[in-house]
């Protein structure tokens, strides 16, 4: 039977200055990868901190595997990579992990084995013997990830895990998280890299001004956003009018110049089957179709559309 890994009920944190979050109710099942999205200052980190016991909620409840958040039992089940963290630079990578292993009450031989395994897994390897003052931001991020995974937790909270990594590092972290998900771990991912969220997560929620705006499975969210990108030549405004006439007034999202008489047309279609009709219309209008495909970062589009025009207390989009 699949249990709930995280349950929050009307979780509220009021800092008294308009920040925080209010009435957040979420349910994340065991083994799910959950993407938590929202503009800067939306309150994502506040919620993660309440779940990891770093912040006391003003009201509402949160449970981790049935234990009230913040209790020792709840914290025993989780690993956490904070957004803004720094380990003491006078320690080596191995020493940081050894210290955290003691806090997690891992026995010495188990800790030694686990530390070596994790240092290799996150790509630090032998540099684990170096002091942290020689580590790049990316290396620190990898170490933070190793630290979060140290006690082999059931649930991992990751606040922007790939923020300081280069593309190779990002890919490696994503692969590592895919492996974790494959091992049945629950993943709670706060990230602005929506491509990563889209590839990894089963479920997403969108937070704005401390409140959940939308929530659902990634498949459902993407189904709502069936955007297609077409590269054509011979485009005239008449073509856009005909497409709108046939598929609806909102079908044409944008048209941009692609040079050498080419244009990019972005279409929002109700379903994938409509692309055949579009193809027919383009041929009928005398346009030549060179490329067609679904837009790459579709969650990004969903995120942008969901928060555009809304007031939010963080940075403006």
């Amino acid at each position: 039977m699949i249990r709930n890994a995280i349950e929050t009920n009307q979780l509220t944190k009021d800092y008294g200055d308009g920040r925080g979050c209010s009435g957040v109710t979420l349910t994340i099942r065991e083994g799910e990868a959950f993407g938590f999205l929202g503009p800067n200052g939306a309150g994502k980190s506040t919620i993660v901190k309440m779940l990891t016991g770093l912040i006391q909620p003003t009201s509402g409840k949160a449970q981790i595997y049935g234990h009230a958040s913040g209790t020792i039992e709840a914290r025993r089940r989780l690993g956490y990579l904070p957004e803004l963290f720094r380990y003491p630079d006078w320690l080596t990578g191995e020493e940081v992990l050894a210290f955290h292993a003691k806090l997690c009450e891992l026995d010495r031989s188990q800790a030694k084995r686990r530390i070596q395994q994790l240092l290799d897994e996150v790509g630090i390897g032998a540099r684990g013997r170096d002091r942290l003052k020689g580590y790049s931001k990316g290396m620190q991020q990898r170490l933070g990830l190793a630290c979060a995974l140290l006690a082999d937790p059931d649930i991992v909270f990751l606040d922007e895990p790939a923020s300081a990594l280069d593309p190779v590092g990002r890919y490696e972290v994503r692969e590592l998280l895919v492996r974790l998900r494959g091992r049945g771990k629950t993943i709670f991912l706060n990230s602005h890299l929506l491509e990563d969220v889209e590839q990894l997560c089963d479920k997403v929620a969108l937070l704005n001004n401390g409140q959940v705006l939308a929530e659902g499975s990634v498949a459902d969210v993407l189904r709502e956003q069936s955007n297609w990108l077409l590269r054509v030549s011979g485009y005239t405004p008449l073509a856009a009018d005909r497409i709108r006439h046939m598929l609806g007034v909102n079908a044409v999202v944008s048209v941009t110049e692609a040079g050498e008489g080419m244009s990019w047309i972005t279409l929002e279609l109700d379903n994938d089957e409509q692309i055949g009709l579009v193809n027919y219309l383009l041929i009928e209008l005398g346009l030549t179709l060179y490329e067609v495909g679904k837009t790459k970062s579709r969650l990004d589009e969903w995120f942008r559309l969901a928060v555009t025009g809304l007031e939010h207390r963080g940075e403006r989009l």
């Binding site: 901190k49 016991g53 770093l54 956490y80 963290f85 003491p88 006078w90 320690l91 630290c147």
Partner: protein, 289 residues
């Protein structure tokens, strides 16, 4: 808690706190050696030309001067090693990953507290022993073991108080602000007791004495370090036992021992330390990071 305690020691060693402390202490030892030699008049052991009381007075002068430095050294080490204990670590982002671990917050706080206190206490003990050793080498005066232990206990007793006060400050104030606040408070405590000593010795004759007495009394309550230090010296030189028989304060002049903490005041210090420690634990328990 033991892991945090160990990490605190490692921090103090790796961040070169130990290196700087040892270097400065060695420089002090050199200066103190010559100072002790000058005060002792170049005589290494008791000789007939000096009376026993004169030897005792000279050793008291040497030790008083030594402890004048030692009190500041120990106090500043206690203050500056623990000045960034909470806010500093939270600002640096160190604390967030530690407190999300399955440990009670009091375990982390007490681990840090024991780490700072034990480190400074070890330094204080070594400094205490070295001052007595240098004094003995120059004057030949050796205090009884019982008196040494009693005065060492009093000398070290201020460390838990200073660490507790600094750590509770670090729950609210940034490291820089906390360092300034603690240094100024310590300085005020020292000055308050100094004024008290002047008034007791009759050297200070000013109007509005009651207000000043109230003020110095309040400062002493907030920062009792110097009063405890005076009590330590008083016990070491057996001031009470010598009263009416020998006026050591006359020999010590500016460094005369006045305003020593009473037994009740020592009990207050113990209670004050406990309240500060318990307050720090309570604040940390409820603090958001």
């Amino acid at each position: 808690m033991i892991a945090v305690w160990g990490l605190t020691w490692k921090e103090l060693i790796r961040k070169r706190v130990t290196l700087m402390t040892v270097t400065m202490t060695m420089l002090f030892w050199v200066a103190y050696w010559f100072l002790a030699g000058a005060i002792a008049g170049g005589e290494v052991h008791v000789v007939a030309s000096f009376s026993l009381l004169e030897h005792f007075a000279r050793s008291a002068m040497i030790l008083t001067l030594g402890f004048f430095f030692a009190a500041f050294a120990v106090a500043f080490l206690a203050i500056f090693s623990s000045v960034a204990a909470v806010t500093g670590e939270a600002e640096a982002g160190v604390l967030q990953s530690v407190l999300a671990r399955p440990i009670h917050r009091w375990q982390w706080y007490m681990g840090r507290w024991f780490g700072f206190v034990s480190y400074v206490a070890l330094y204080g003990t070594l400094l205490f022993a070295s001052l007595h050793l240098i004094c003995w080498m120059h004057t030949g005066v050796l205090f009884s073991f019982e008196v040494l232990i009693q005065s060492l206990g009093l000398f070290l007793s201020i460390i838990p108080l200073l660490v507790s006060l600094t750590m509770i400050g670090s729950c609210y104030i940034s490291p820089l602000g906390n360092g300034i606040w603690m240094t100024m408070l310590y300085g005020m405590g020292w000055l308050g007791n100094m004024i008290d000593r002047f008034m007791e010795s009759g050297r200070l004759q000013i109007s509005g004495l009651e207000t000043l007495e109230t003020l110095t009394g309040l400062i002493k309550l907030a920062m009792p370090a110097d009063a405890v230090q005076q009590r330590m010296l008083s016990e070491l030189f057996s001031i009470r036992e010598l009263s009416g028989f020998y006026d050591l304060n006359r020999e010590l002049s500016l460094f005369s021992i006045n305003g020593a903490a009473s037994n009740s005041f020592l009990l207050y210090c113990l209670f004050y330390t406990f309240i500060l420690l318990a307050g720090g634990l309570l604040i940390l328990r409820r603090k958001d990071f």
